[in-house]
Amino acid sequence: MADIQEGGKGRGRAKSVELNLVPFIDLMSVLITFLLITAVWTQVSMIQIGSSLYGKKSDSQPNPEPPPMSNIVLKVDVKSAGYVLTAGTQMISLPVLAGGEYDDAGLVAQLQRVKQLYPEKIDAVVAVEDPLPYNQLIKAMDNLLISGFSAISVATGGPN
């Protein structure tokens, strides 16, 4: 154990200095128990709907300022056949890939191209077909956020 022994061979008295580890182990045990109980193993975060521009207004709140370049339409339709991106007057169709997965990489690339064209634009609309899983809405929103469009609105109606 943690001790220092000195002498013993000669005539002098053997000196044994022993470190008392018991309080240290006690402290460690208490700390470990506390930290294990309070530990958060899954990091839940959130994804935000950007603005309440089209939402219900309360009387006390002033109308929010429209974001810059909001006259240019940017809409992501999520259909069972794939994504359809509407940017201004242009419509880009990104069909479902061969494996049955949505073309997320393609959508991000197209959105980044739109961002380069209109760097100030931050608002976008997501419309998802009703029977699709909620996961698709999050994926579409995530792709928009990655591309720099932070003011996302969710359309209650389905895609056109």
Partner: protein
């Protein structure tokens, strides 16, 4: 029990030691390895430790969607949409199957519950505001401005496979009941996955 003369005693049983003479056997428990392990564990757990409280209770039936572009969770009312039921802060307000089949987008129980909770939150917030104004007058120095609409935030925690129509119904009801900013609870997607 025998009565011994008071005085110094050896910790490894003096009497036995004396009798066995030079070949006394002292079995020592090696604590070094255990102390090492404890230290490593404490360091690991301390690194993982976050001072914030958990904002929402994870529901066991819910598999949250994953996302990369995320923000830190803020305190808000949590509306949970699982495959079985819809809850507001641990109170069951509706059955998910019924909501899926109903034509009307308004979920009456959810509406009532959210409205009630929001009214309470607003009253609390205004009381707090009054206190703060008083504090500000006394201290003549104010803290950074708090978000005036922080009381009406809603976090939706829904299963990733639930149909979007049900989520839209919940969102519609929440907005109609006076809810402001809506956030969706997600898990952080691991960095190295190719998507």
């Amino acid at each position: 029990m025998a009565i011994f003369r008071p005085g110094e005693r050896h910790r490894y049983h003096n009497i036995l030691r004396k009798r066995r003479g030079k070949r006394a056997l002292v079995a020592l428990l090696s604590l070094t390895a255990m102390v090492d392990m404890f230290t490593v564990l404490v360091i690991f757990l301390l690194q993982n430790f976050s001072g914030e409280q958990q904002m929402l209770q994870l529901h066991k039936d819910i598999e949250l969607p994953q996302a990369r572009s995320i923000k830190e969770l803020k305190p808000a009312f949590v509306v949970t949409v699982s495959n079985k039921e819809i809850l507001v802060d641990d109170t069951v307000v509706a059955n998910t199957d019924e909501i899926k089949t109903q034509q009307d987008w308004m979920i009456q129980n959810l509406h009532a519950k959210i409205e009630e909770s929001l009214a309470k939150a607003k009253a609390d917030f205004e009381n707090k505001l009054q206190n703060r104004i008083r504090d500000v007058v006394q201290a003549a120095r104010s803290e950074p401005e708090e978000d005036p609409n922080s009381w009406n935030k809603i976090t939706i925690q829904a299963d990733r496979n639930i149909d979007i129509l049900t989520v839209k119904k919940v969102m519609y009801t929440v907005t109609e009941a006076g809810g402001g900013e809506i956030n969706f609870a997600v898990l952080k997607e691991p960095e190295n996955t190719t998507n």
